[in-house]
Symmetry: D4
Subunit: 226 residues, 8 copies
């Protein structure tokens, strides 16, 4: 089967970052082939949606090559992100500990891409003071990822308070009419606060990529000054 | 056809308020029969969803008997609510002028029932200061009707700030994924703020009745003190 | 991770009751941190959606501090509700034993909040006599929680018979077009009986909070008399 | 175009009643061809969903042949139902005047088929006494069509009270989560009362045909006794 | 808890058949209480949705009292249906072996109620000849239950061929746009064949009850002849 | 604005047929620019979804260039299909006159493409004999377009009877759970008859293109023989 | 139970290929009966949706008769497809390894039917060059099956590039708004590229049958030339 | 009523741009009050969803103050955007003339905000060459708004080709399963191309605001360099 896989190694040159490997629905054998392809070029890769039990099965063969985090279900293949040498440019804001996995997926992806993020949690609108006392600090971030499940009210409140790019990451937290994240998604899309941009439910990886696209353009503008 | 209609005149004795007449989908002839039934007993009634063009057709026959308001599309039949003699116990809070018809339906219904309400508008979460500077006053109301369309974030914010009964009235304002009010409805039901109670989309009449049930029980408690 | 959690301890002062801990989707480690935070202040808390298997794992460390009920999947942390010293002001009405968990969640929440409830079961509309013979008693309750799954017809019938506040708690009981509680939810929202207020599917905790908001306002009115 | 239409004239021999003509979405020219086909055989037919404005356009050519009723939007072509010579075997029960068009479509269809029906209106569950005082009479009908929109609670209550065949006819009456009749449809299908059978939303014609199938089998049983 | 259960023992007198026990979502303890209630009156009952593993747990205590069938997941409590002494009046028609459980639930329910049914399988429309060669026989049944999943085309074809009462039982067989039975349900409701009556998805019990209501009325007509 | 439009004139070389002009949602000015572009190259084009009132407005400027058909709402621009010189290879089968516009759109598109079709109407499954007596003839067509609304049972029956390519064209005919064609669409997709291929609701143009792709490959095979 | 099964052995004569056995939802006993029926005629059959654990249970009895493939979950009963003796006429194109099971089901079905297919993988539109460099080769196939999940953009791009019959096979790959394949299905149906034909989500078997119908007609045309 | 409106004049200081006026669902009187409020401060404003017929009614009173564009249905109140003095930083890419109104709303909003955009049309994926020949130019834009209806394949293709911020603007163009833009929305959210950010269906104003937030941060980075 190893003939079957043709990875898109030219992607970074085209769009600024490389293809991640979505592990969901791939067999162990398929994952092994893909990782071999990466390693034989001494490349690096980010694995997402890597369930702990799948990791446990494939890990023995890649012990020194995989840096796995069970909360975000991500792994770095043949890669150790550099220590954070500058200040974070991206904030990841969430309401509570239920949305931790999705927020962690975004943060781990950003670290992989070389864009360390600062996390703000317990910023739920039901206890508004926790958000208000952080507004000044949030104003300094050019890009914010707003993670929210259930009613998804956080992005709307945030959108009226800060000027930066806001990437909404709706989560499947909740039950009943939360509809697996649909209500949070729709609330972000239909927000009364202008200029919110939204990614798919539970798509922490995608939120990070969207934030990284913005950061890349900001960096390009900074670089262009010289 | 006049034999066909049997109104539920005993309802006030059972539940504390009388049957309203939902005019939508009723023919002019049907409306005439119903109004005649009320008038021949010298009763009173509230008509809801009475479109201006329908009112224009039936009004000539009931000029002195109907007090019509085109914004809320309601009419009082054979009834003039007493002038407000006490302070309002119910607040009706909304984000903007787009939700005016639904808020007005609730306010007109409450006036008909003898429960004058105070209206707060432009309390949208995208301009949070407009809500925050009113919180102290809102705390004094035992019952609040929160009107919100689009993302429906207002009830969630309000629910974390005030202790009274909160009746959420989602509206069909908006487009796209607002889905005719479904997103605002779901956001209120899935709210992270505890203890919100919700009525059907655009159901200003129902929100008023739910608020009135609460007010009735509060009044009963007050009366019982003597 | 213990830095990450900032609980909203000021909530009771704002809205009259404290934040509950929704255990669903939280890891054991997250739950432990939250409970420690509560205990180190000698606070109390209500845990909801605490599955028996999760309880079994965390219980050994909190044996004397947790009062767990498997039917409602709730636990009281560092709290024993006072024995019921007065008459119940809130009725919890349901059709049958299938809706027991949701009704129990509401009742346990109310007990935690200091508002003992009286339960009425087997009040299904398919055997209407069971409801009719209780109407007189139900009339004495200022607040009723109506629990219903499947077709959700109970709230509509009840709403035409009693004057109190009615909080509808739709449940996910049923199959096929019951759609996980959506039909019961929609039937309550679209009810022909006026003034019903509704909470999310299976949200026994939220129904209790909504009922408690109303009870609080009634109590405030009673207290104000002196 | 007249070649294009081949009517199913053998249907009565197969299933006991003839093909009706659903006028919705047919052009005037198509309707004319179909009616000509019927008349040239001196046949009869039932036209459904014939909007008043369409009737006004085609009526001049068929003045003596069409018996039109604007409430039900039905017409009898070349047919006058016999005067009711026996007692009605089918009851058509509905909650209020908003559901009149659908109830009327069922009643007119039954009259066309030779099965006169008795209509009961204002049997809404929000005023339960109106239903309860009719139960004894309803028990005598072998077949009942229960017409209900909005929350659709009527069939559930009825199903627990009477033994006959119950055909539920959900209607699109209502707004918001009524969803054009979907909630009433789902409530009837998910009913806690056993043995309800349901037809499509607003399908008064289909409800009548289902009732007529049952009546036909009952008549066959009666005839077989002799 | 035994106080909590009040069964509706008067139901047969009102509607002609007794309350079944839907076992889904009931705890073993709840089932035990209900069965005790039935047995202490020497009553009988039908249990539906009794999963094999639940049966295995409760069976030891009721070995001689329960007649269990794993295909239909039904059990007769304290009851053995009489041997079939007459000819079947109800046909149960289905397309294939995938719909067997639902068909079996209907057949077992009918047997319990004293109305033996005849089963026709492999009557799928993709092999039309299997249906056509049975039409003559099917014409002799006053009541037919048509079981169909996936596209649900069987009821439409049947409805154009036979005159009896047709109860459509849509099943959750299929995948993708079958949507857990929704497509079969909607196809039956929107059928071009007139007079089909429909029950909830997978509701074999309900289909049997609807068929039994019709049979009861036919029997009443037969009895009335003497 | 004329600069703005760049038509895809190379499409026939790539895929075998040219771009049609979907007139819905285009302004009169936009349509004029597009037509001019076609005419200045002396090209030809097919216009679809051209409403009669739009045609009436633009027709005066293109009287000799447009061949308009109001039933299918299509127009040929600068093109007259050749008279049918051979036998039709594609059959268009539909149940009744309600689906005529969609069937006509397919037939007109095929004529434009040079693939005359034969139409079969009144092939509804509720009168099965009308289909059965045509099966032998239908067997001779290599490609069949099956047009069906409401329950969409026709394709399933057809799929079990004939061997050719079957393109299902679901239509929005019907009401209630027909859901604007969704039920017919889903029934075709979930059909128990194997090998049906489906296009979007009311997409007569797309059905014709799909049929034409198949016909093109068949013709290529025929041509290749020499 | 063996009497119950009547297979449609005449299907190949009618439509060109035989009935497959959908194993999902069939009990082991039912599968055994069906296989016996096939074997006692020395027939052959294709089993689909045969889960590995079901295969493991039934395999011991049919070791030499079943050729099972776990990726596609298909088995050949009493049949070994001939070695591929000619060039493939059908291409199966997919974006990546996540859609492998559905692509494999199509390919195994085609092999069973005697129509070997060539597979193209990693043809995702996010790395467009992988598709573009294959276009010339894809142009030579008269029939293409386009497998796509998530956003389902592949068929639209392909449809503008190649002239052959395109059968779209949407898959349930993805999460959130992918909605179990619904988005890929709808994108294929609503495609801006004309003449795409679509089958049910994950229906690799159906896609193969639709492709085979087209191939059969092409072969018939080729044969007719001589 | 003029007391009722409190505009959020401080918004630009908080988030970088001012509140627009959504005219849909506002009465003429409400619009007049809002415009007066703006003018009495000599402010400026953007009006969106201003239908031509509403504009025609209110225009006479504000002839010199309103700059109206009927395609985008927007008006500038008391404002004339400066002539474009620099090169455009934002590209607006769309497939065809059907999406013109939404693209125009975005472009007009950007012009109002002082961020001129360059428009690329006819970039549909069904004629891929039109996109490919523009890729190099598109690479120079830091922000791209991708407008797409129907299957919404354009953003996925674009996302694999260019590195900038991509804001997807799904449109309600299309019919059938296009579902008023839902399919285009879902396709953008579920895209296989990473880092796409999405706004509500037809929300050209919101897409512009999201693009402007990114541009603002890029400008801030440029400014910071000096």
């Amino acid at each position: 089967m190893s003939d079957e896989i043709r990875l898109d190694f030219q992607r970074p040159e085209r769009i600024g970052f490389d293809e991640a490997i979505l592990c969901a629905r791939k067999s162990d054998a398929q994952l092994a082939v893909i990782m071999e392809r990466v390693l034989e070029r001494d490349g690096r890769s980010l694995l997402t949606r890597l369930e702990p039990e799948v990791f446990a099965r494939i890990a023995p063969n890649y012990l020194e090559k995989l840096d796995y985090d069970p909360v975000s279900r991500t792994a770095y293949l043949n890669w150790a992100p550099p220590l954070d040498t500058g200040s974070a440019q991206i904030a990841v804001v969430s309401a509570g500990s239920s949305d931790m996995p999705q927020a962690a997926e975004a943060i781990r992806t950003l670290a992989y891409l070389g864009a360390p993020a600062k996390q703000f949690i317990d910023i739920g609108v039901a206890g508004l003071w926790r958000l208000l006392e952080r507004v000044e600090e949030l104003n300094t971030f050019p890009v914010i990822i707003a993670v929210a499940g259930m009613d998804g009210a956080l992005p709307s409140v945030l959108g009226g308070l800060v000027p930066g790019v806001i990437i909404c990451l709706p989560t499947s937290t909740g039950y009943g009419v939360s509809n697996g994240g649909e209500t949070a998604l729709h609330a972000a899309l239909a927000s009364c606060a202008p200029g919110l941009a939204v990614v798919n439910i539970d798509n922490g990886y995608g939120a990070a990529c969207a934030a990284f696209r913005a950061l890349n353009m900001i960096r390009r503008a900074r670089t262009a000054r010289d």
